[in-house]
Amino acid sequence: MLKILKYSFFDLIRSRWSYVYFAFYLLLGIVLLFLNNDLSKAVITLMNVIIVLVPLIGTIFGVMYYYNSKEFTELLLAQPLKRSSIFLGQYLGVALSLSMSLILGLGIPFIFYGLFESSAIWDFSLLLVTGVFLTLIFTALAFNIALSNENKIKGFGYAILLWLFLAIIYDGIFLMTLVMFEDYPLDKLSLVGTMLNPIDLSRTLILLKLDISALLGYTGAIFKQFFGTNFGLIVSFAMLTIWVVLPVLRIVFKSRKKDF
């Protein structure tokens, strides 16, 4: 698996798209710092952008890579390699190269701007950790979609739909549900609703950092335990890990049964 990972990774970090992605983040970082003239504010803006953009790029890139490397995959399948190592290797190759573009693309401008002397360094680290988690999750979801759909167009369609659903539509339904059932105790429901969507989950992590004052204004005891202690942080990270593990397991499972 490590060998496949290595080749996929090197293949990707030399591809045009990795550079585009890297350049995009570099530009985003520079523009935000330049416009805001303030590290903390740039980090906040960036958090808002990251939780929406990273999933989009992760899904699109994952699906694209899978379809584009189909023949290469077939070449590998004929080699004495386990299927799971082929797909996990490719998956990790994509996810890691995307994560690297993210970390370097954002890290470089912020370091030059004096991140290490700033108090925003923890916020920024959290931002990168969240970004990496989202990349891992959404690339895995993308591989799942691609493995289940031979048709490229369909695959891309589902990928975009998935993103649209998790990034926007889900929250819309979530909000409607909460408002509709406002007469009932909702804190459990709202926390569970958050756990079921990795984008919301990452957003929660960011809220814990940026909006703790507002979150503590709410009465519910479960809310209070969740946001008032480290409990929330631990649970969120645990859930994010589950969100990585489940789709990856499905990649292994699905790839074992698939015909090429």
């Binding site: 080749y7 189909k70 077939e74 004495p80 074992r256």
Partner: protein, 235 residues
């Protein structure tokens, strides 16, 4: 060498293989023939473990291939469409496959043979179809395996390379290897193969030498023999 029993495979509603029984003995060149969509590639991919059969058993060199990947160390496979990761250079691809399968020094001889030296530092994405196929051939033949499977090996090759490929196949045969070939080029098949396996509608229709086929169909030449099978069955 390869033994297949009662192999069934369905893609959706489309039953491609309907109980294939096939034994391929050690040594010699076997051509798998059949009209488009008859299940040739599916059969080959089943042997390689790329297609998971619905029913039936396959064993290669006496070993059941289900849930195993190690047996592929004994197989050289030339895929039909050679499309490689476009960002890799030829040299890197060769190095990578060697890295994955174990070392060999045969690659240099083959590179020399197919005059690939000038392309070694080019990215695979920039190569022509024929050159890619040559790289493909190098990758296949550089290992010393008892079973060689070639799926449409002649695609895109210039006449000189075609001659070299034929030489290569004959040499491997002389080394006592078993070679499975699919091809649409009848003259090529006739020239190289010792035995024919003809698949029709998901079953083995005929297995035997070219001479046997001619006798069976009472046709003077190979191409007509094949054609007569097809017209008979579609009429």
């Amino acid at each position: 060498m390869v033994s297949i029993q009662n192999l069934h495979k369905k893609f959706g509603k489309n039953q491609v293989l309907k109980g294939v029984d096939l034994n391929i003995n050690e040594g010699g060149i076997f051509a798998v023939l059949g009209p488009n969509g008859s299940g040739k590639t599916t059969l080959i991919k089943s042997i390689l473990g790329m297609v998971i059969p619905n029913k039936g058993e396959i064993s290669v060199l006496g070993e059941n291939i289900k849930k195993s990947s190690d047996y592929r160390h004994k197989i050289d496979y030339l895929p039909q469409i050679a499309n490689f990761p476009s960002n890799l250079k030829v040299r890197e691809l060769i190095k990578m496959i060697k890295d994955l399968r174990g070392n060999t020094s045969d690659d240099e001889r083959l590179i020399e043979l197919f005059k690939l030296k000038p392309f070694l530092n080019k990215k695979l994405g920039n190569l022509s179809g024929g050159t890619k196929q040559k790289v493909n051939i190098v990758l296949t033949f550089m290992f010393d395996c008892p079973l060689i499977i070639l799926d449409e090996p002649t695609t895109g090759l210039d006449p000189i390379s075609l001659i070299r490929l034929k030489d290569l196949i004959q040499k491997e045969k002389a080394n006592g290897k078993t070679i499975l070939i699919t091809s649409h080029i009848m003259s090529f098949v006739e020239e190289v193969s010792d035995e024919i396996v003809f698949i029709l509608e998901g079953q083995i229709y005929f297995k035997g030498s070219i001479q046997d086929l001619k006798t069976k169909t009472s046709q003077p030449d190979f191409e007509h023999a094949i054609a007569s099978i097809l017209t008979e069955n579609h009429a």
